[in-house]
Symmetry: D3
Subunit: 334 residues, 6 copies
C-alpha cells in the first residue's frame, strides 16, 4: 500500500480513488420519502474520515450493507473548524482482494529485530527455571506468532500490530537501566517478568478493522489471562519452585500498580515495584510521542484534552528547544 494517498494527508477539494475499510454506515430517507443517503465512516491505516454517499439506489443499498472493504472514489468537500474533513462519495464497489488486517497500523520498527532483542534478553538469564519458562513461551511458534502481531493497547500506546513486542523490549530495557543503577535489584527476575508482563494481551484484543477488545478481554482482562498462561506452563515444568511461581504471578497480577487499574494486588516485592514503573514509563512516554505525532501538522501549541493524563499537553517544546539552539548558533557566529 505504498503509493496510496492516505486519509491523514487529504486536503479540502482533494479527489481520491482508493480502497478503504467501512467502519460504520447509516442510511437515511430524505424527507421527500424517496431518496436514501448513506453516511459512512471509512478508515485506512492512517486514520478515519466521514464520507457521504448521496442518493443510493435500492439495489446499491443492499450491496453496500454487506461490504467491509471497498474501492471508493470521492472528493473532500468540507473542513470543519477542528480540522476534521468530510468526503462525498462518487462510486463505491467491493474490494475483496484486500485483507482487513492491512487497514490496521503496524509498528514502525522491524519486528524481526525486536524479536531478536527479546531472544537475546532470554539468553542472558542465568536462572534456569526462569529461562525455561521464557523459552517455553517464546520458542512456541503459535505463541510467538500471536505475540508478534498483538498490539500493546487499544488506543493509548503502541496501538498497532507489533506494538506488544515493541513495548515489551522497551520495558525490559528500562528495567536493565534500573538494574545497572541499583545492583541490589535481582536482574534475572526483573528482566524475566518484564518479558512476560503483558503476554495476556494476545487474548485481550482482536483485529477487526480496528483493534477491539475481545469479550474475554473485557470480562477477565490481560492481567489474569497472562497469569493463567504462566500457571499452565509452570504446571508442565518439573520441580518449578512454588515460591518462585507465586512471586512471578504476584508480579504479573500487580504490575498495574493500583487497584483501580485492574491489579488485584499491589506490588509487594522490590522487582514488582520496579516493573510497575518501567511499564508505566514506557506506556505514557510512547503515548505522548503518538500524541505529538498526531498534532505535528496542526498549528497549535496545546493539544486537546488527553483523557489518560487528565490534562492537555503543550506541544511547542521541541520548537522552543530548536529555536534556542539556533539563537545560540547565531550568537556564536556573530
Amino acid at each position: 500500500m505504498d503509493n496510496k494517498k492516505r486519509i491523514v494527508d487529504l486536503e479540502l477539494r482533494d479527489r481520491i480513488t482508493e480502497v478503504f475499510y467501512i467502519k460504520e454506515a447509516e442510511f437515511r430517507l430524505r424527507r421527500n420519502g424517496r431518496i436514501v443517503d448513506g453516511f459512512l465512516k471509512i478508515v485506512d491505516n492512517s486514520g478515519e474520515i466521514e464520507a457521504i454517499y448521496w442518493d443510493i439506489s435500492s439495489e446499491k443499498l443492499k450491496e453496500i450493507e454487506k461490504i467491509k472493504l471497498a474501492l471508493i472514489e470521492g472528493q473532500v468537500i468540507k473542513k470543519k473548524n477542528n480540522g476534521q474533513l468530510q468526503m462525498s462519495i462518487k462510486s463505491l464497489k467491493e474490494a475483496s482482494e484486500y485483507k482487513e488486517e492491512d487497514f490496521i497500523p503496524s509498528s514502525g520498527k522491524n519486528i524481526k529485530d525486536v524479536m531478536r532483542q527479546i531472544d537475546e534478553k532470554i539468553n542472558s538469564i542465568n536462572n534456569q527455571y526462569l529461562k525455561n519458562l521464557l523459552v517455553s513461551f517464546f520458542d512456541d511458534m503459535i505463541f510467538r506468532e500471536k505475540f508478534k502481531k498483538a498490539p500493546a493497547a487499544k488506543k493509548l500506546h503502541q496501538a498497532y500490530i507489533g506494538g506488544l513486542a515493541e513495548h515489551t523490549i522497551n520495558v525490559a530495557n528500562i528495567c536493565e537501566a534500573i538494574c545497572k543503577i541499583h545492583p541490589q535489584v535481582n536482574r534475572d527476575f526483573l528482566i524475566s517478568v518484564a518479558l512476560l508482563h503483558d503476554i495476556g494481551k494476545i487474548e485481550e484484543y482482536q483485529l477487526n478493522g480496528t483493534i477491539e477488545y475481545t469479550d474475554k478481554g473485557k470480562l477477565i482482562g490481560h492481567i489474569v489471562i497472562g497469569t493463567e498462561m504462566i500457571q499452565e506452563r509452570i504446571k508442565q515444568m518439573i520441580d518449578f519452585p512454588d515460591d518462585l511461581a507465586i512471586m512471578i504471578k504476584h508480579t504479573i497480577l500487580s504490575h498495574h500498580g493500583k487497584f483501580e487499574f485492574g491489579s488485584p494486588k499491589l506490588p509487594s516485592i522490590l522487582p514488582a515495584v520496579a516493573l510497575f514503573y518501567a511499564d508505566d514509563t514506557d506506556a505514557k512516554i510512547n503515548g505522548l510521542i503518538n500524541l505529538k505525532d498526531q498534532n505535528k501538522n496542526i498549528d497549535r501549541k496545546w493539544s486537546e484534552w488527553v483523557w489518560w493524563l487528565e490534562r492537555p499537553i503543550y506541544l511547542a517544546e521541541q520548537n522552543i528547544m530548536e529555536e534556542s539552539v539556533k539563537e545560540t548558533k547565531e550568537d556564536l557566529e556573530e
Copy 2:
C-alpha cells in the same frame, strides 16, 4: 475442653490452672542487672490475656523460649480502665499433648448439616455443566475436608473453623431469595457461583494458633486462587463451553465489587452484581452479630470504632426493642 475456665470469663483476683497457647513473649532484665521478667500474651479459643512471669531463672528462660502450648498457673492481678485484665504467672510448663488447632474458635453450627445443605443446592442445579463443575469440587474428598475446616475470614466475619461453609450456604440462601423476587435472574448460574465464590480461601489462610494469611494468600489472594482452581477443573471437563467458563471466572474475579477490594474486574453481568450484594450482605451482618456478641457483657451503648465500617455501632437496639415490647404488654395488662 468443656469445663475449662476460659479467658473470656476471668475476673480480677481469679486463680486459674489451664493450658494456653503462647502467642508472644518478651523478656526484660531489671535495672539491678540480675533478675529477668517475662511478659507474655497467651490465648485460648475464647480470647487473649497479658501474663507476667516475674523473676525467671536462666534455665527456665531457655525452656520457655521454645514452648508454644503451656500449662499455666496464675492469678489475675490488674483490671485496666478499658476492662483489659493482666495475669501474674506462678508456674509454666510445656503441654505437648494438645494441638494448636484446639485453640482456634469453631463455628457454632453443625458442619455436617451445613455441608448437607450445600449438597442439596448442588442437586437442585439443572445445568449439567455447572452441576458437574460443582460435583468435581464437593465430591473431591481432599477439597471437601479443606473446605469444611476453612474460616471465611481472618477477623471480620465467620472467622472460625467451618466459617467458610457457613458463609457459603448463607450467600446461596440470599441468592435464592433474590431469584424468587426477580425470576429474571438465572438461578442455576447464581446458585453455582454462590457455592464457588470463596473456594480460594482454602489456600488463603493457615491455622497457626490463630488464623493467619499464607504468603500465597497475601501475594495472590483468594480471588485469583479460586479462579485458577476453577480453570483447572474446567480444563479437565470435556466440552465445557468457553463462554460459560469466562462468565464463571468473571463472576468470581468481580465478586468483591470494587477494585480497591481486590477485584480486577467490576461485576458486569446481572448475576455477578447479585452475587456481590449477597456476599457483602452476609459478611457485614455476620460481622455485626459477632461485634454485638463480643460486647454483650459490657455495659455501654456504643461499640469501639469498627474499622471495616469506619464508624462505631450503637449496641442498645435489641434492649430498646425488648423494652418497648414490655411496655406494650404492661399497657395491655392494665
Copy 3:
C-alpha cells in the same frame, strides 16, 4: 391504550396515527426566511422519538405551541447508526380527551396484589408501637393512594406508577430472607423500617408527562421528607418510646448507606445496615433487569455505559446459559 402501535415497536418506513405527549418542541426558520419547520420530541408510555413537522403555517404554529397531547399522523423516515429513529409528521391536532398520566409507564405487577402483601407484612408485626405506626400510614386513604401511584425512582429502578409499592415489598422480602438466615436480627424492626424506608418519595416526584422531581424533592429529598412524615405521626401517638423513635428515624436517615448518596448519618445499628443492603440490592437488580429489557431487541453483547454502575454491562449471559442447556440436552440425546 391496548391495540396502540407503540414507539418501542416502530420500524423504518412505518406509518402511524396515534396520540402522543409532546415533551419538547423547537421551531426553525429556513434560510429562505419564510418557511418554519418544527422539531419535536414525542413520547408514549413505551419510549420517545424525534419527529419533524415540515413547513408549518403561522396559524398552525401558534396552535402547536400550546399543545401537550396530540393526535399525530406520520412516517418513520430515518434510522440512525445507533438504532434511533426519526419521524416525519403529516398532521397534528390536540387530543384533549387524554390525561398526561396515561403516558407514564406503570408497574407490570398487580398493584392490589402488592398492597395486599404489604398489609400482610404489617399484620405479622408483633410490636404494637411499630404496628400502630405502620397502620397510621397504610390505613390512611390519602397516603395509601399517593403511595400506590408513586414511582420508586426517576430513572434507575421501578421508574413507573406503582414502582414504589413494588420496590417496598421486594425490600421487605429480602429483609425476611436475612432474618431467616440470621435470627439475631430483630424482625419486627427490620420489616417495619423496610415498609417505611422510601415513603418520602410520595412528595419527591411529580408526574408531568414524565416522572420529574419536585422542588421539595430536590431541595429537601425523600430521606428527610420521610423522616418528617414519621416524626409527625409519632407525635400524635401516645407514649411512643423516644428511643424507638430515634432508632426508626436513624434507620430512615441512614438507609442510603453513604454520605455522598444523601444520608446525613451512616447506618449505625444492625437493622440499619441490613436495610441498606436490602434496598440497594433490589434497586440495582431491578435496574439491571430494566437495562436488559431495553436492550432485548438490539443485537449487541454489551450495553452502553451505565452511569449508575460506571461501566457497560454484558448482555449475552442468558443466551449463553440457554445455549449451554441446549448443548447438554443434545449430549444426552446422543
Copy 4:
C-alpha cells in the same frame, strides 16, 4: 472558683489542694498481691492531669469508686517529654457542694451581651414570616436558656458553655459583611438562617463533666434535629409560605457544604452557599485561635498534627509580626 490553682498553671513539684472532677479511674493490684494503687484522670475547667493514688485501703477504694467531685491534695511528680504532668495524690474526699457544670469551660464573652446582639439582629429583619419564626424561638424561655448554655462543638471550636451563642453571632456578622459587599444577597434570609443554623445543637450535646454527644446527637445529628425544630414551629404559624419553609430547611440541611460532613443536600441557593462559608470560616478561625492559645506557653514553632486540618500549624507568626514591628521602630529611632 477565682483564686483556685488551675491545672493549666501547674509546674513540676507544685503542691495543690483543690476540688477536681474525676473523669476516669483505674485500680491495680501490685504484684505482691496485696496493695492496690489508683490511676486517675482528673479535670478542672482549665485542663486535665493524670494523678496516682498509691496504696489505697479497701474501705477507701469502695468510697472512691462512687466519687465524681473530690477535694484532692497532691503534688506534681513527673514532667513527660511532651510537657504532660503527673500528680501523686496524698488525700482525696468527696466535694458534694460543687456542681459538675462548674468544671466545664465557659465562653470568655459576656453571654448577656451576645444574646442582646442576637436580639438586635432579629429586630432588624423586615420579612415578617422570618422575624416571627426567629421570635418564636428566641422569646421562648426554655429554648433561650438551653441555647445560652449550649456549646458550639465537642472539641473543635467554641467548645464551652455559651459557645453556641458566640458562634451564632459571629456567623451572622460574617454574613452581614457579605451582604454589604454583595447587596444582591438577600439580607433578611441570610441573617435569619445564620441565627437558626445550629439550633439543633441544644439536643446534640450533654454536659456530663465534659461535653458529650447524646445518643440522639449521634444517631440523628443537629442538622436534622434543627430542621425538625423549625418544621414544628412553622406548622404552628398561620400561612407560612411553603416555598419559604422549604428554602429555610434546605439551607439548614445543606450548611455543612459537603455530603461527608453530614449534609444530605448540597447548598443550592445563593444564601445557602454564603451561610456555608460564613459558618466554616468562623469555626476554623476560632479553632485555630484555641490551638494557638493552648500552645502559647510551649516553646515550639509548630503545633502537633491538627486532625481537622490534616496538617500541623506554624505558631510563630504573631512573634514574627511583632519582631518586624520592633525592627521598624528601631530603624525609625536611629
Copy 5:
C-alpha cells in the same frame, strides 16, 4: 458602545447591523461542489451567537479568513430548544477602527473608586515592611495599569476588565470583618496578603477577543508567578525580615487551600487560613450572582449544571422572598 444592539438582547426575526468580533469560522463546500457557506461564531461584550454566511464568493472567502473585527448585517433565523439563537449574515466587512479589547466585558464598578479603596487599605497598614512592599507594587505605574485591566478569572467570577481589582478589595473587606470578630488575627498581615494574593493574574491572562490563558499562565500559574513577583520586590528592599518574607510567600502559595486547586502548600498559619476562606467566599458568591444574572430573563427555576459547584442552582429564591414580603404587606393592610 452605548446604543448598540447587544447579542444578549436579540430575538428571533431581529435584524441587526453592528460590529462583532469573529471568534471562530468554518467554511463548507455544498454537495454540488461549487457553493461555499461559512459558519461563524461572533461575539460582542454581552455574549456569543452562531451566524451563517450563505454562498460566499472565492474573493470574499479570502478576505473573511483574515478578519477579526467585522461590521455585520444579518437577521436572527433560528431559536433552538435551549433558547440559543442562530443568525443569517447578509453582509460582512472589516471594521478596523475598533479594538479587540472593546469586545471584552468590563466591571460594572468604577475602577478609580476601587483603586482608591485599595490605596486607603494600604495607608492603614502600620507595619512598615508590609506597607513598603504594597507601595512598591501599587505605586509602580506599570503594575498599577496592568492590575486595573486584569480580570479575576477566565469564567467563574469577576471575569471582566477590572475584575481583579474588584475581587481584591472584596477579599480585603471580608478579611476586615474577620479581624473585627476575631481580634487575635493580625490585621496588618491579613489585609496585606489580601491585597497581594492574586497579583500573579496580571500575567496569567491575556485579552484576545475573549479572556484567555497565557502559556505562562498555564505552565506556571498565577500562584507561583505572584510569589516570584513578591520575591523580586523583597530582594530590592533593605533588611526585609526573612521570616516575614517566608510567611508572605507561604500565604500566597497556599491561598487556594487545597493541593488539587494548585496550591503547593496548605495554609499553615492562621492568616493563611483566613485568606483562603475570604478568597473562596468572594469568588463563589460572585460566581453565583453572575449565574443568576445570566438566567434572569429565562423562565426556569433551576439553572443548568454548574461545573464549579457540581450541582444545578435553584434560581427562584429572590422571587420567593419578594412574594413572601408582599403577602406580609397584604396581611398588614387587611
Copy 6:
C-alpha cells in the same frame, strides 16, 4: 568513627562506652518525691536507642540538660518483643570534641565520583543556554558544597549526607535510558532538568543531629525554592529565551506529578512527564532497598506497614531467587 561499636549492632547485655548524640531527654521524680530518673533517646549514625539514667543528682541534672553530645557508658538491659533495645546509663559526660554532623549517616558512594559524573553530564549538553545555567550552579562553590552535603529526603530515600547528589545522578541515568529507547525525547532538556530538579532541597533540610525540615522547607518547599533559585540565575543571564525559562520552571514545578504531592502544576510537556517517572522510580526503588537493608538481620518475611507505599513488603524474594539458583545447580550436578 571506624572501630566504634554502633547502635545497630548492640545486643541484650552488651556493655558499651561511646559518644552519642542526645536527641531527646525527659526527667521524672520518683513517687518518693526525692529521686529523679532520666529517660533519653540517643543516636549515632547507625540508629537510635532508649537509654535510662537512674537516680541523677541535682548537679548532674543541670549539667545534662545542656549536653547534646556525650560520652556514655552503659549496658543494654531490655529487648522488647519487636526487637527494640533499652540501655541503662552508668555514666555520662560531655564530648565537646565531636561535631553533630558526624552523627548523621552518609552516602555509601564516593561523593567525588558522583560529582564527576554530574560534571560529565553537564559537559555533554549541547544547548548553550542550558549548559550555562547548569554551570552557573555547579561551578558556584557555595552551591556545590551545599549540594554535596544535602540529603535527598528526610526519611524515605537517600536520607543521608550526599544523598541529593546520588539521587540526582540516578535520575539523570534513568532519563538517559529513556532517551535511548525514545530518541524523540529532547536529551539536552531532559538531562538538564534532571540535574536541577531537586536543587531546592539544599534549603529544605537542615542537619541538626538528624535530618530536619527548615521552616522555609515546610512553608515554601523545595519545589518552589528550586524554581526561585533557577529564576534568579536566569535573570542574570543575557538573552535567556523566555519560553525556555518557562519550560524549565514548569518542569521543576510539576516534577512530583500530582497536586497532592505538592506540584502546583501537572507535567504538561513530554520531558516533564519523563522526569516525573525517572524521579519517582529512583526514589521508590532506593526506598525499598533501604527497607530491605533495615530488615536484613530480622527473621521475618514481611516488613512492617510501609507508609509511603500503604502496604507491607515481602522481604524473602532475594532468598527465593538464590534458593532456586542453588536447586538448579544441584540438578545439574546430579
